[in-house]
């Protein structure tokens, strides 16, 4: 059994958490989201990926995007490669799906700006 120390990244508050990696008990959190984060960070660390994809026919040549939910951390760079292959055409609305089920994660990549 080991206690893993970490800083919660769920909000700007940045609580210092202690997570027991066997019992998955979380201490130091000040909200339920912190508990969930601490547990996940030990079992299946995930991150929201924010990036851009190419866009044609808009005022600029890049469209900002994000994953609609966190995806497994080890997939971040692979996801970037998938984004590199996409070119969307304007108009695009906020929340519009750019890649459905990104890398089989069940999470969509969505536009974060109307362009």
């Amino acid at each position: 059994m080991a206690i893993r120390k970490m800083i919660c990244i769920t909000c700007p508050r940045g609580c210092h958490l202690e997570v027991d990696d066997e019992t998955l008990q979380v201490r130091g959190n000040t909200c339920p989201k912190g508990e969930e984060y601490g547990r996940n960070e030990v079992t299946d660390p995930r991150r929201v990926l924010t990036s851009t994809v190419r866009i044609e026919g808009a005022a600029h040549c890049r469209l900002p995007v994000k994953t609609a939910a966190p995806i497994p951390k080890p997939l971040l760079l692979k996801a970037m490669d998938a984004l590199a292959e996409v070119t969307v055409k304007a108009p695009v609305r906020v929340g519009e799906v750019v890649i459905r089920d990104l890398l089989g994660t069940g999470v969509d990549l969505v536009a974060t700006k109307e362009m």
Partner: protein, 422 residues
């Protein structure tokens, strides 16, 4: 030709959008926003990462999403917008001189003005980094615009000076696009960035953070950065000889602070606080010129856009009151002074007539403290005290001073912080 408006808002970033919307809701129907960029939203457009809106919208948004919500709100009002338009000067009698390439040179007059010009980044010249002067030394924000809006890579091997949030965010952003970020170097013994950004932008990608270090030489004899030398610094922030580390890199990103952009305010004769580099403001965000208000990063640099929104709504509503002739006027009843460990306060002045239930006061401390007590004193008497866990210069503090307590104060109100078990 002179054009007339009730309210002119200078700058269409988050502060300007919130101020205009709030003034509209309070009944001002002739509002013009002047924005120098081609689109509204300001710097949020290039802040494509998430972390915005947790306080205001109770959900986590990216910069463009946060801006987008306010732009949408604005489009539901009748607020007029001129983008790609530069304000050249404003005058004490609220004349705004502006120019663009479709209306030409304009003289606009307003009953009230809200200044929301935001801030700019400190550059190499402001901090005097020694060494050659090659290409490849740029501010983190400039790099962010190149990458996120224009789609260009600004380098392959990167050292970041300063651990402010923009620097940290750019460390991750450049790594994801295939650059190698070799180090993040911070002069102070602590980071000014949010802990969550150190975790998810540096630690996630094994980027080392060197606290109490600085860049002591930039080498680039052939046009582009080739190498930087990083040294540890002592408690007086002077480099310690013998601690030099070399990094072969082509790019240095600077995240070494932001400065409110107040050239227009200064030239208009508005009183500027040397500590914030922003206008001295009353509780309703009015500057030293009656009817000219200011809000957001032009007043003081915020950590979170949510607070910019709140402050700007206050300014917008106050401008509406001013136009309606129903706002507090005259000099200050109370002046806020900075006591021990307090770097600045906003507002700096309070008119009791302008305080509804309570006056919100933002301030920053000048050192990292595990815990402390914020004391509010007037005439040698404590009128309020607030306990706080963990305070740091990088994190803006906020207290609410109830009107009932302020009425007991006289003249100067000093805000200080007493460190616990110091």
């Amino acid at each position: 030709m002179t054009e007339y408006h009730d309210l002119i808002v200078i700058g269409g970033g988050p502060a300007g959008l919130a101020a205009a919307c709030a003034a509209w809701e309070k009944g001002v129907k002739d509002i013009l926003i002047i924005e120098r960029d081609k689109e509204l939203g300001g710097i949020l457009n290039q802040c494509i990462h998430n972390g915005f809106g947790l306080t205001y919208f109770k959900e986590e948004l990216t910069g463009p999403e946060y801006a987008g919500r306010f732009i949408k709100m604005l489009f539901d009002t009748g607020v007029k917008v001129r983008t790609d338009t530069m304000v050249l000067s404003i005058t004490e009698n609220k004349e705004v001189h502006a120019v663009n390439n479709f209306d030409g040179y304009m003289v606009l007059r307003a009953k009230a003005i809200v200044l929301t010009m935001g801030c700019r980044e400190r550059t190499r010249g402001a901090i005097g980094i020694p060494g050659d002067r090659p290409a490849g030394v740029l501010t983190a924000g400039a790099a962010q615009r190149y990458m996120n809006i224009e789609g260009y890579m600004v380098g392959k091997r990167v050292v970041i000076l300063g651990s402010g949030d923009i620097g940290l965010i750019m460390a991750r952003r450049m790594t994801l696009e295939g650059a190698k970020v070799l180090a993040c170097v911070e002069l102070m013994p602590y980071s000014n960035g949010l802990n969550r950004n150190i975790v998810q932008c540096l630690n996630d990608f094994d980027i080392p953070l060197y606290l109490a270090h600085t860049i002591t030489d930039i080498v680039g004899k052939h046009g582009r950065v080739e190498k930087v030398v990083v040294s540890a610094v002592d408690e007086n922030r002077r480099p310690v000889p013998g601690t030099e580390m070399e990094f072969d890199c082509d790019t240095v990103l600077l995240s070494v602070g932001l400065i409110p952009e107040n050239e227009l305010s200064r030239n208009a004769g508005i009183e500027i606080d040397r500590r914030t580099s922003g206008p001295v403001v009353f509780e309703n965000m009015e500057t030293s010129i009656p009817g000219v208000f200011a809000a957001g990063n032009v007043v003081h640099v915020h950590d979170l856009v949510d607070f910019v929104t709140g402050e700007s709504q206050r300014a917008g509503r106050a401008a509406a009151d001013y136009i309606a002739g129903s706002s507090a006027a005259g000099g200050a009843d109370l002046e806020l002074a900075n006591g021990e460990h307090v770097n600045y306060t906003v507002p700096q002045k309070i008119r009791l007539a302008g305080v509804d239930k309570a006056a919100g006061v933002f301030f920053r401390v000048n050192k990292v403290m595990a815990a402390g007590t914020v004391r509010v004193m007037s005439g040698g008497v404590q009128i309020a005290a607030f306990k706080r866990q963990h305070m740091a210069p990088g994190e803006m503090e906020q207290i609410q001073l109830p009107r009932a307590l302020l009425e007991k104060a006289q003249g100067t109100v000093t805000i200080s912080v007493e460190e616990a078990n110091a």
